[in-house]
Symmetry: C2
């Protein structure tokens, strides 16, 4: 299970198995989406499979999650999703009403993101060999001229921003998971981020890095950026917006909110001179109302993320090894 | 299971559930890939999930099948695949050696098709909730200027061609399926068709329809074209190239070779004046060496496919209702 968790084991699978097998360097960029030359334009292209359990959770379902996830991966390159594909693997015996509900969620989420579901596929597997519905979305969108957003572009001096409170998606899914149900008033943050990114780009085209902290949470996102860019990251732990209900649930479950998945948040590395303008643009957008400065990019400890704790100390924020929260997306 | 079989139930799911839920007309074209305006170019975009059982079969595996399937869907719009995405759902406990073998097959098949695997994803589901590996590929490619290939363009007078012997993939998979093993020397035809289509387009840009007869076989492909174009199709049954081993296996299993899946074949509707040139171009290409004229497009019985039998009679070739061969791709 750890190999699917978005942590060190996932990264190892990518660098040790898939990158050599596929024989190319584009995958090695390890961004959320690939930016590719096609027909004279720069096209962002991304895919993700969604195997979340249960299919429906407070604030969303596998359908909107799959749309928002791919829309957001494209947004992390600065692209607005133009077209989406949607491939469903249905488990034999899944009620048609469930399929219809997920399909409607897909359509509604695509419309909200301004994207068109242009092509699809449906396969059916034997009863017991699935979990109702697995959804795989892919998407394409144009990267605007002059925009070059990727993990390698983090620079010492960059200000690190987060677009809102963290940990909501992971805690919302766990709160209704069979065998782990607990009463908590938390709703997933699943949302499309293309509009927020467009607003940030209106403040400056020179955004260095964007990343949506999904599997592995903010901790994994920052570690991947530090590794890709060869810089260090210093996180101000108490500046990270953690809702009280998330903090309580994490305390109860023995989780660190920094490692919990989000599906409607982004972290941004922004040149210091543009940070105020970008933060203001974020706060003026519904998806960025809770935006905050949470740290900075430094030349020290390259590849490493360090948190300044409330007590004045520091601690290393590692890449999670395996799966803290299985089947969260 | 029938809803995933590529027959009437699959079509019903598409028109009754997904098209209204996704709220767009592009899906309604029901071609193998969507052709979309993007950045001033026409981009073909397609996706398919592969849940074939077993993962490895004579002539291929789920990895090359997934690459060739999407490459071929793009080719059916006249596009060469430029970039592919590849999302894997792994079952917990699947041996790493199996994952590596499938990944290598993906890389090798992409290289053979001249495409780059540009982005990917891996999820892991609990043991028992998968079948080793499900692979979902998507692809994008440019449609050349002046090319407009889609099912709606079939016209009375068009000549119907097939690129080679039919039924090999389905019989090859069945021949090694647990519980159904039978000795037969048949190898899947899984292959990329982008090069063959380029050779056909060099003979004429005015190809009307291309379709790869996968799930539901040649019968389903012809029925979909007849329905989309409002024309009739007359098939000369004895002109369809059916290898003896396929005929024997189908006899043994009670299957009609016209309904058996292919993964490296295409059917083409070509204006009569270009048919000889296209047939010659096909036969000169390795993937089209066994090409043959198998019928014609007519104004009579619109939406219906009729076979002229060897005895001089005719019979209706229906769209299969459900699943003749489950989990074949």
């Amino acid at each position: 299970m750890g190999h699917g968790g978005g942590g060190a084991l996932s990264a190892e699978l990518m660098t040790e198995v898939f990158a050599p097998a596929y024989g190319n360097d584009i995958l090695a960029v390890l961004g959320d989406s690939a930016v590719l030359p096609l027909g004279g334009a720069r096209v962002a292209f991304s895919t993700d499979s969604y195997v979340v359990r249960p299919l429906f959770f407070p604030g969303g379902c596998v359908g909107d999650l799959a749309v928002n996830g791919t829309v957001n991966d494209l947004a992390m390159s600065g692209a607005r999703a133009a077209y989406l594909s949607c491939a469903l693997v249905l488990e034999e015996g899944t009620e048609l009403a469930v399929v219809e509900r997920v399909a409607r969620a897909i359509g509604t989420a695509a419309e909200a993101a301004g994207a068109v579901v242009a092509t699809g596929d449906t396969k059916v597997v034997d009863a017991g060999h699935g979990d109702g519905i697995y959804v795989t979305t892919s998407g394409v969108g144009l990267v605007p001229d002059g925009v070059d957003i990727r993990p390698q572009r983090a620079r010492p001096g960059d200000v690190v921003l987060v677009s809102g409170p963290v940990g909501l998606h992971g805690v919302a899914v766990l709160s209704v998971r069979e065998g782990l149900e607990f009463g908590v008033d938390v709703v997933s943050d699943t949302a499309p981020l293309g509009g927020l990114v467009a607003a940030m780009l209106a403040a400056t085209r020179d955004l260095h890095v964007l990343r949506d902290p999904t599997r592995g949470g903010v901790a994994a996102a920052l570690n991947e950026i530090a590794a890709a860019s060869g810089t260090g990251v210093v996180l101000t732990e108490e500046a990270v917006p953690v809702p009280e209900a998330v903090a309580n649930a994490c305390g109860f479950l023995g989780l660190d909110p920094l490692y919990v998945a989000n599906e409607g948040r982004l972290v941004a590395f922004v040149p210091r001179e543009h940070a105020d303008a970008v933060l203001a643009a974020m706060r003026a957008h519904p998806q960025g109302a809770g935006a905050a400065v949470i740290g900075e990019c430094v030349a020290e400890h390259p590849g490493m993320v360090v948190a300044r704790t409330g007590l004045g100390g520091t601690r290393v924020v590692d890449l999670p090894v395996g799966e803290q929260l299985p089947r969260i997306c």
